[in-house]
Symmetry: C2
Subunit: 151 residues, 2 copies
Amino acid sequence: MADAATASYRFNHTMIRIKDPEKSIEFYTKVLGMDVIDEHDAGDFKLFFLAYNLPGQKGLPRGEREGILELTWNKGTEKDPNFKYHNGNDEPQGFGHTCISVDNLEKAVARFDSMGVKFKKRPEDGKMKSIAFVYDPDMYWIEIISHNKPQ
Amino acid sequence: MADAATASYRFNHTMIRIKDPEKSIEFYTKVLGMDVIDEHDAGDFKLFFLAYNLPGQKGLPRGEREGILELTWNKGTEKDPNFKYHNGNDEPQGFGHTCISVDNLEKAVARFDSMGVKFKKRPEDGKMKSIAFVYDPDMYWIEIISHNKPQ
């Protein structure tokens, strides 16, 4: 820590825009097992805050937590068949991915297959056998790693 | 939690690409107070893993943690004066921002001012007085909120 002034600082959340909350909430809760810990309806748009309710995080005020994913839904985009968000990996590049770590990559992949999850990269593709990438409903990339082999 | 199969799942990290690691590492460590907890040099590119070493996270294997920011440096981009990454808020939109929460927003803003940090939105700008947005060296947006007023 460079400065005592930052002792309270937390990496609270990462925000991505989503087209259709029904699809995204189903994906992040049912497939990835996150909980919706808060919502904020602002009229034209609505925010969803998702996280794993881990020991040490559960029950903390939202502002004190880490590991939150904020999904921003600009209402109406879900009705436009041509509307899509940019995933940051197609040009122009910037943001790359979020990453979920799991106890057992092989088991996680088998479960994703049983649920029809789409893969950008299966563990057996390419050189890096210990990582996978799946797509979320907006085609954002989500890296999947195991706890003991982070790359 | 929707499924016991996801009990081990963690929101491990968020990855963004950076142009110049000297500038980015200085910003995220000196200004935002994160620690570089790991690095991985892959030849053409290098990865930096940053996090707050909070109780309950410090000492955990990297794969078991939450709240990690992964910075990807594709070597050589820092030498091209015209090279820039896309921040996700200019068109085409997708990724929005990361967010750091702090104990005292006013104090954090005064400290950022003393360090020459550039603001996208100061707390007093617009209707939402309890949030600010600063730019990182690649012009990614970082929301700054206080622990007790997350929006």
